[in-house]
Amino acid sequence: MSRDKSKFDVAAARRRCLSYRRRILDISQQVTALHVAPAFSCLEMVDLIYHGLMRPDPKQSNPRQFLDGFVMSKGHGCLAQYVILEDLGILSKTDLDRYCTPAGRLGAHPDYGVPGIEASTGSLGHGMGIVTGMAYAEKLKGTDRCTYAVLSDGELQEGSTWEAMMMAANLDLKNLVTFVDLNNFGGLTRMSEGHPAFYPLLDKARSFGWEAAEVNGHDATAVHDAVMGRSGKQPFMLVGKTVKGKGVSFMEHVNIWHYRSPNKDEYQQALAGLTEISS
């Protein structure tokens, strides 16, 4: 159902993610309010989905299209998706340069109809239901297409996410693989402080009929191996333990960067500190 395990080049993934972080910081200079930190926390997982899991459609080449599907359920992380879509030639440099401007078509949440965007998200707790419907449709049609999604940990506070998880298990959706960006931050508090009953997450997912694994979400090798090593007998949830703002020391674990863009000095400081991330 997925690509050949041996073909994912982790060193190349690290180089890509470094350039993606640079590009996101560049774009951050265009607007004052931007979701930099939530994009940085899920970046390695989104990169893996596009470059290591989703199979290119052999009938389409330019711009690249995929056989498999992907929904960015945590819509506020969409800069991670935009920079990858730009790299793949699905979105243009102009598209990203016009981010959040009147002449552009990219906003701070993904908008269905924009190339590469399969569902409009932004309100949390919607993605799991949509991908459950997509995966069920593929099952009905008898395809081998897999549907992927990235959710925020906060979305697992929404009852609708668990409604969908129950249904995905009821419907035996082996073709559904979701990633949880477990950065442990809500908008207001750390999840572990504000909602300690949120944990343990893996046990909850498993008790809802899912196969689940938890690894370091910035360790592309670990994420890749966990996903590729799944049994394929149930819907699969990869819980990626991540760091909000990962890659920029002064952003890491500091929740103001959920919302704000760095000023000029902070931007230079952030750029200077970026390195390839291995874990």
């Binding site: 599907g69 269905y112 919607h126 459950t132 997509m134 069920y136 449709a137 969908a164 249904m167």
Partner: protein, 306 residues
């Protein structure tokens, strides 16, 4: 209406394997049993989980299917409202939301089961169409249209069971987006939609007994509203009466008044709606309508026909 919908959907579903239905634990009486038995893969029951009923429909439509969400009207729309708005309407997906028991049809179940505001709420969302047929034959026509349309999301408001025929002698066919004359007259025009057409038809008879020539019109498509058709009715009758089983704000009554103002209508115009109130009454559908002042005698008296 419920059975007509089920039979019609079954018929269409036999020919088009993209048609699917997603229900949220509707009772066996309301479930579309035959479709469920013959096409079990295209029948999904999410259980008491309406948000996902809508969310799954969106995902299925994004993958080329033509899903219908189906349960009691309040639960199709009020509980999962933001999912209807974002997942269906924002994406402009051709998904039909079928609401059983529009208005106060569930007359013994209390206000939790009364879809009194559904037309206003559904109609407020961009891209949404709203259809409310008045009898089984209109239900069939509307259902068939919904199975074939590609324009976007639809809220199909149905009654429950036992609605009489109002349209077999209509001089005009059912057409999406057009008002439909069930009878044509010259003096008084009564505009209505849905099962409360029974009150509108009764009022037409009472006017006829006084020697008036009466038009009876099914405004089955509430959105997009046939503004020209309504303007023509306002212009060609001395008196127009609107009867609807919906709260006063956001429904046909206010829209007809808006059109009357915009088009400089000179006719007398009276509107009758549910009260802006949660009433705590129980009984038959007619009893509930009476408690809201929407029964034939109360309306007749208000119009001087007692």
């Amino acid at each position: 209406m419920r059975n007509t919908f089920a039979d019609t959907f079954y018929e269409a579903g036999k020919k088009d394997n993209r048609l699917a239905v997603v229900v949220a634990d509707i009772s066996p009486a309301g479930s579309i049993q035959k479709f469920r038995e013959d096409f079990p893969d295209r029948f999904v029951n999410t259980g008491v989980a309406e948000q996902i009923m809508i969310g799954m429909c969106a995902g299925m439509a994004l993958r080329g299917l033509k899903p219908f969400a189906y349960t009691i009207a309040t639960f199709t729309l009020f509980r999962p409202y933001e999912f209807v708005r974002d997942d269906l309407c924002y994406h402009n997906l051709p998904v039909t939301i079928v609401g059983i028991g529009g208005g106060v049809t569930y007359s013994t179940l209390g206000a939790t089961h009364h879809a009194m505001e559904d037309v206003a709420l559904a109609g407020a969302i961009p891209n949404m169409s709203v259809i409310a047929p008045c009898d089984p034959a209109e239900t069939r026509a509307a259902t068939l249209w919904c199975t074939q349309q590609t324009r976007g999301p639809v809220y199909l408001r149905l009654g429950k069971a036992g609605e009489p025929d109002f349209t077999s002698k209509a001089p005009e066919p059912w057409e999406f987006g057009k008002v439909r004359h069930l009878k044509k007259g010259k003096d008084v025009c009564i505009l209505s939609y849905g099962p409360i057409m029974k009150v509108a038809a009764g009022l037409a008879e009472r006017y006829e007994k006084t020697g008036k020539s009466v038009s009876l019109v099914s405004v089955h498509t509430l959105k997009p509203l046939d503004r020209d058709g309504i303007a023509a009715a306002l212009a060609s009758h001395k008196q127009v009466v609107v009867i609807e089983e919906m709260v006063p704000r956001g429904g046909l009554a206010g829209l007809v008044k808006e059109i009357a103002w915009d088009r400089h209508a000179a006719c007398k115009l009276d509107t009758f709606t549910l009260k802006d109130d949660f009433i705590h009454n129980y009984g038959s559908h007619n009893d509930l309508l009476a408690a809201h002042g929407l029964d034939l005698n109360t309306i007749s008296a208000a119009l001087g026909l007692a």
